[in-house]
Symmetry: C2
Subunit: 329 residues, 2 copies
């Protein structure tokens, strides 16, 4: 039985459902016969894109609304068996220039969703998309879940609060919830218009457009999770009793330098140019340096492992945007 | 030179300035010749009380407003050299029954104050009153600043965000700020009407009134900082270059069991009765068990140490309420 099959016939709500990870998750769930309801705000700066669900359009329900809209959420969570809570403001820079919007979405709306579940659907199971940004600049590598949380931007602080509301509501009220601390997730349907979701998006866009892209500090090490692997982790966390009240790092195939990653993009694209430059001084205070996760906990407790090697994942991603780029600009 | 003397002639803003710690701090600062402006909302469930500043009323300025009032704060922070940022919602139970008010005060208003400082007074120095509640249930004792943060109530989560906004604005924008993670602070002028600030308050009130008080799980260990020692730590943190961007635990004289503490109250009061009962089941999920701080960092870096022994502090506190209880009911 695939990890998606157990959702057959279940009612599943996905916030951020028209976004990158949400739409890939939706395709998996719809394929397994789940009753899928996607909620998305379609805020232009975020990841929602109707093209992401083009192929499954007739097998999912879509509700355009915002997680900040309490009344909408109050109606939508009722009767759902699962909530994949993926909606969020993801841009580090936007969180610094407009910290209150980040707070309203990543912090207040999360508390509001949980209060709504507590009152109107306490039997729901929730998986929250958290982020490695909570750790800030690592003390040691790889970073496990025992690493201190020391966020370096407003986004990281608000996501930290959002994650902890979930764990708290699990522990105090028995609203079953877990959180995945995602690292760089990549793959088809990610935002490539700009670097708001990941810098890899803008690299791929420029490479596919035949334009040079910029690599900042090419020696930095990072890890990358292919979206299918991230979706698998979400499904495992939602289905597992053991996950309740737990936080899990996701890792990737292996740590790579940004220079090596850039090479993989060029190879996958059959050509491309990039320049390596030093980190822009204005970004330096919120840069975290090298990062890669120790994901032993989720491997041991939920049996997850990344299955898509980086080169293969990059190749599939570049191929997707070679075909569909126009829908993402 | 006393640690307060360096504030002579400085303009000092204290949020929560009519509250327990704020008013004790104000007396120290006014005595040293600082120009003190106290901001307080006087929300009846919180710690503000005009009687707290009765003796210094003609040596401080008072502005009744709320830290959630952006325009008020924007005006008030301008021209100040120091901000002691003590205003907050402190009740764990209230944070669970009304999580959004806690979020607005402990989280959003903090971000707002920092944004205001960044725009209108970037040279200000800030000390933020944080709390041991961020740690949740300790993994080990004593708890140092390297202990993971795992708050067990909404208040702890929001204070965690509030603390990190301060550290972030220090690190990214150079708004000099530090945070003290207070443990149970006690002394004259604390709220004794109920247990919203500390359970010790209601114990002392009942003892002074000649009524029995309840001790929950008398074997639990806690530490207690006498308010003069907490004030000294605030002054040291504000004045020290080394403190910028740092968080510090405050500890107390020594860890004591709640039963021993109850005995101290009875002795100081020349009589009193209490009963020991098990922890109420509905409070259990947000109870943290034993806690006491390792405060080696602030001792080493700022030269702080608690000077008031617990028995002496309790005696002074009980004597204060024997004289002034009527003003605190």
């Amino acid at each position: 039985m695939s990890s998606a099959d157990r959702f057959h016939g279940s009612r599943v709500l996905v916030t951020g459902g028209l976004g990158f990870i949400g739409s890939n998750l939706a395709a998996r769930l719809a394929g397994a016969g789940a009753e899928v309801l996607l909620v998305d705000s379609l805020i232009p700066e975020y990841g929602g894109n109707l093209f992401n669900v083009g192929e499954i359009r007739d097998r999912v329900s879509i509700n355009i609304s915002d997680v900040r809209d309490e009344h909408s959420m109050r109606f939508l969570v009722q009767g759902c068996d699962y909530l994949f809570n993926l909606a969020g403001q993801t841009s580090h820079m936007d969180s610094m220039s407009d910290p209150f919007t980040d707070l309203e979405i990543n912090c207040r709306a999360q508390l509001s969703i949980l209060e709504t579940c507590r009152r109107y659907n306490p039997g729901i199971r929730i998986v929250f998309a958290s982020t490695r940004q909570l750790y800030g600049r690592p003390d040691y590598l790889p970073v496990d879940e025992s690493h201190l949380l020391r966020p370096v931007d407003v986004n990281g602080i608000n996501k930290m609060a959002g994650e902890w509301y979930h764990i708290l509501y699990n522990n105090v009220y028995g609203i079953r919830a877990s959180a995945l601390r995602l690292t760089n997730t990549y793959g088809p349907r990610m935002r490539v218009k700009d670097a708001r979701q990941t810098f890899l998006g803008i690299w791929i866009r420029l490479a596919v457009e035949g334009k040079p892209f910029e690599v900042w500090d090419g020696d930095q090490l990072r890890d990358f999770t292919y979206v299918d692997d991230a979706v698998e982790a979400l499904l495992l966390a939602a289905a597992s009793e053991e996950a309740h009240g737990r936080v899990y790092n996701l890792g990737g195939d292996r740590p790579v330098s940004l220079k090596e990653l850039a090479e993989l993009v060029v190879v996958a694209n059959n050509g491309g140019e990039y320049s390596v430059r030093s980190f822009p001084p204005e970004r330096k205070p919120i840069d975290i340096g090298d990062y890669y996760a120790d994901d032993a906990r989720i491997r041991a407790e939920l049996g997850w492992e990344p299955r898509v090697p980086l080169a293969a994942g990059i190749a599939r991603t570049v191929a997707f945007y070679q075909e569909h780029l126009a829908h993402y600009l």
